[in-house]
């Protein structure tokens, strides 16, 4: 075998080993995407207050009610027809969410909005937004026992990428949008966590 061939084989082998090592190094990074910034309680709380305004808007809060009846409309009135949460958050008997709510918004004013995941949080993890102060809601969101067992990373993913959460910015005809755009909201969620995930004082 010529020295040229040996040289090429050696280079290829080293490159393969290098890529393999790098890919193993990069894998854990995929599981720890949280950007961390210097701890900044003021900046973190300020970011959360923007997040809070969105969570308390009708598009988010209507499916996070304090009772077992979903809310409806920009004024967050109780869902008509006596709809109830049910154990899995998907309604009861002939009153299950997907009986009326389709996989997409139904066209026209007052027609049911839709998403494949339409529903409330389940009865054993109610994740109430309605009536929560900023401090209460921040602490609740961060507590895996109250947030569906989510880590901070999973919380960020849920709040910024979940398709049902994202529906809030595509609510169909006659429904007000949340006070921040989806990218702005996502940025504030990430900033809140990155700066230390502080809860407001009240």
């Amino acid at each position: 075998m010529s020295s040229k061939k040996i040289f090429i084989i050696t280079v290829l082998a080293l490159a393969t080993i290098g890529f393999t090592v790098m890919s193993f190094r990069e894998q854990p990074a995929a599981y720890s995407k949280i950007t961390t910034l210097p701890k900044d309680s003021t900046g973190s709380v300020r970011a959360f207050m923007s997040v809070y305004r969105v969570l308390k808007s009708a598009r988010c809060m209507n499916c996070h009610p304090s009772g077992d009846v979903p809310l409806q409309g920009d004024d967050s009135h109780l869902h008509t027809m006596g709809v109830k949460r049910g154990p899995d958050g998907k309604g009861l008997y002939a009153m299950k969410c997907s009986n009326c709510h389709q996989a997409e918004n139904s066209p026209g004013l007052h027609a049911p909005p839709g998403n494949p995941k339409w529903g409330l949080p389940p009865a054993n993890m109610r994740m109430v937004f309605q009536g929560r102060t900023p401090r209460q809601l921040a602490l609740q969101l961060l507590d895996p026992k109250q947030n569906g067992g989510r880590t901070k990373q999973q919380l960020i993913e849920h709040m910024t990428s979940d398709t049902l959460v994202s529906w809030g910015w595509h609510p169909g005809l006659g429904r007000k949008l949340p006070p921040l755009s989806h990218p702005a909201f996502s940025a504030q969620v990430k900033l809140w966590i990155a700066k230390g995930a502080y809860a407001p004082a009240k």
């Binding site: 006596g82 008997y93 389709q102 139904s106 007052h110 027609a111």
Partner: protein, 156 residues
Amino acid sequence: MITLKVNDKSYQVDASPDMPLLWVLRDLLGLTGTKYGCGVAQCGACTVHLNGEAVRSCVTKVSRAQGQNVVTIEGLSLNNDHPLQKAWAEFDVPQCGYCQSGQLMSAAVLLRENASPTDQDIDDAMSGNICRCGTYQRMRQAIHKAAQMQKEGGKS
């Protein structure tokens, strides 16, 4: 062409995928027992079973029902002898009757999932089906009676 299974019978319908299932049932298949009420899923007159769930056919696109099992009031029983239908007759539930096919389809889901419903369970299941004649009390009585018949071996 869209393939549908309605009341255990297969159909091929020439319909736009976004046509409401209700229109397909009534206008293309001639199953007119299911009624049009509000058109926006708020009254329950158009309730049919889609894979056993009481969907509002006025807002359900026929594409959602493609290849799935649909049951309408015509298919609830072979001889109008579902315990609910028998109890409905015994208590003379309907007045004008317009909403009743939807009421029966909703009540059938309740009885399938809860063999001994309380008044509260009945309210929870039926509160989305509106009856302008106000036959609610008779429907409640009839559902209790049907539950009893079902337990005693009546057809479910």
